[in-house]
């Protein structure tokens, strides 16, 4: 026998070993039955972990499951998070935040036989021992899984892909025009031209919040006439179904919120932004698409003013703290007035009566407390726990606020996905408030 066939055999063996290695890990995990899962649901020394895409956890029916949502009481640790490079520290913090410790028995479940394996490998590398496996497809149809009331508001990449393939996925009406748009600050060259979701056209956020041309500089929400012009120019009508995407999803949520304010009835956002698209293995497009303008929006603008609180409404709300909470979604340093958060704004402090509601850990452009490592929406139980810690009562009207409405828009959407009923955004935020000469306070709030 010559040397070449031996080499080929050797390479084939290596490839085969690499291929079956994950299967080996999966097979090594003890398999759980539905009865066993039901029996451990309440046990403190067990942790049930959903390893699928967060969208499946939220409620979408992915990977051929019959029911969307997650096992009641389960937490999430998506295999998708492990695709992000250089986030070891964040992953360890995430494990701790979810109460996933080595002394617990952990059940990993998925629907494709792969996600749990990936997570198991990671957990084993971190020294976790008592790992078990459950196939969510075995979950009985008659038993309701838990899903967020409005999970459809944030859409997974695979669903957007299905739409582009001409399908009508669950929750989407078959008879309506679905528009996919890309939102980011600046002209196309800033972000859109580097790659966007196929067929989407670009919206510069300056269209809905043009900068002031006099001192002080602010990016405040435009008046209703300007927003009407914006809607017509970009071809929006009230009956559209819009999916807003973007590399920086805060911009996408900002545009989505404003479209809802204008009166577009069905506005959704790509969960995790364009990162979720590339993580799903899809290609971004670089070709430029232009919107077609329309002559008539089809309804009075604004169609849903309840989603945005004016400064007068915020002031009135603050006088009735029994029914209204202004949730300050900025960093702690911004909240106590140690920093303003913005290079173009110098006044530091917070609105009197506002309650700290978390945002990011680093700067005014981060939202670590509300996002998973892959930038998707965080588990609502964890968000609610943070708010509870600060004494925020979700039965009151919650008006989210930040610097000028970007962070608050994303958090508004997450609250809406969960199903909170009486919510809005005080859009002008700290910048609008402080530049208007309103009173403010600094320092740590008294409990």
């Amino acid at each position: 026998m010559s040397k070449i066939p031996m080499k080929i055999i050797f390479y084939h063996m290596v490839v085969a070993l690499v291929t079956i290695m994950p299967l080996h890990v999966s097979a090594a995990l003890p398999q759980m039955t539905t009865e066993q899962i039901l029996s451990i649901q309440e046990k403190q020394d067990w942790k049930i972990v959903d390893c699928r895409l967060n969208d499946a956890f939220n409620g979408w029916k992915l990977d051929g499951v019959e029911q969307g949502g997650h096992i009641p009481g389960a937490t999430d640790f998506s295999a998708n998070w492990l695709k992000i490079d250089g986030n070891e520290k964040e992953l360890k913090e995430t494990l701790a935040a979810k109460g996933m410790s080595k002394d617990k028995n952990i059940v990993l479940y998925d629907a494709n036989g792969k996600d749990a394996t990936v997570v198991a490998e990671y957990l084993e590398s971190q020294g976790f021992g008592d790992l078990h496996y459950y196939d969510i497809k075995n979950w009985p149809v008659e038993r309701q899984l838990q899903r967020y009331e409005n999970y459809h508001l944030i859409v997974p990449a695979v669903i957007v892909h299905d739409i582009l393939e001409g399908q009508t996925p669950e929750t989407f009406p078959a008879d309506k025009n679905i528009k996919i748009v890309e939102a980011s600050w600046g002209e196309e060259k800033t972000s859109y031209a580097k790659g966007h979701i196929p067929t989407s056209f670009h919206i510069n956020t300056d269209n809905i919040e043009p900068p002031t041309t006099t001192d002080p500089v602010m990016w405040m929400l435009a008046d209703d006439d300007t927003l009407s012009e914006f809607a017509l120019k970009f071809g929006f009508t009230k009956d559209d179904v819009v999916i807003v995407t973007g590399a920086e999803q805060m911009a996408a949520y900002r545009i989505a919120l404003v479209l809802r304010y204008i009166g577009v009835e069905d506005v959704r956002v790509l969960n995790g932004g364009t990162l979720s698209w590339t993580l799903a293995g899809y290609e971004l497009e670089k070709k430029s698409h232009k919107p077609s303008s329309v002559a008539d929006f089809g309804a009075q603008i604004p169609g849903d003013p309840s989603v945005i609180d004016t400064i007068e409404e915020a002031k009135a709300g603050l006088t009735t703290p029994d029914t209204y909470t202004l949730v300050d979604n900025r960093t702690w340093d911004e909240h106590i007035g140690a920093i303003s958060g913005y290079s173009y704004h110098k006044i530091k402090g917070r609105i009197p009566g506002s309650v700290f509601g978390y945002a990011g850990k680093t700067d005014a452009y981060s939202l670590d407390y509300f996002r998973n490592p892959d930038k998707t929406m965080r588990n609502v139980d964890e968000i609610l726990a943070l708010w509870q810690e600060q004494g925020i009562d979700t039965n009151k009207r919650l008006a989210f606020t930040c610097g000028s409405g970007w962070r608050a828009a994303e958090i508004f959407y997450y609250a809406d996905v969960y199903g909170l009923k009486d919510i809005g955004v005080y859009s002008d935020g700290w910048i609008g408030w402080s530049n208007n000469g309103n009173p403010f306070v600094t320092g740590e709030p008294k409990k």
Partner: protein
């Protein structure tokens, strides 16, 4: 002689460097939201506080003073105003155009541009003061 060459080289290098920095900043501001916001904020602030009303008048007076200084320096060093002051008047023309044109007013580096051009004029006067004829 050597000193004059050094001044010539230093002034020209500094002028070129300042203009290059402006161009780079304007270019990058088309891509970086934070930079664009900061430059825009500074532009509006500087225009409101330094390039309008009384401060603008003061700029005019200082410009006149600078021109007189440049012309005097030129004469003291035994040179004719034209052609020896051409660089100074070139920068003056650029400054006035930059101040007036709507194209430049739209630039994020508009206020920084005005400052840089004024600085270039000051450097030009330094050149006129310290570099004698033929050097």
């Amino acid at each position: 002689m050597k000193e004059a060459k050094l001044i010539n080289f230093g002034v020209t290098s500094l002028q070129v460097a300042l203009v290059v920095v402006l161009v780079v900043l304007e270019f990058l501001s088309g891509y970086k939201a934070g930079l664009a916001q900061h430059l825009y904020f500074k532009k509006i602030y500087y225009v409101a506080h330094y390039y309008q009303g009384a401060p603008l008048l003061l700029h005019g007076v200082l410009l006149l003073f600078l021109t007189v200084l440049g012309v005097k320096a030129c004469r003291q060093n035994g040179r004719k105003i034209i052609p020896h002051c051409y660089r100074y008047f070139f920068w003056l023309a650029v400054l006035i155009s930059f101040f007036m044109l709507s194209f430049t007013r739209d630039l994020n580096i508009y206020a920084h541009g005005l400052m840089v051009l004024q600085l270039c004029m000051v450097l030009e006067v330094v050149r006129l003061m310290f570099v004698k004829t033929g050097q």
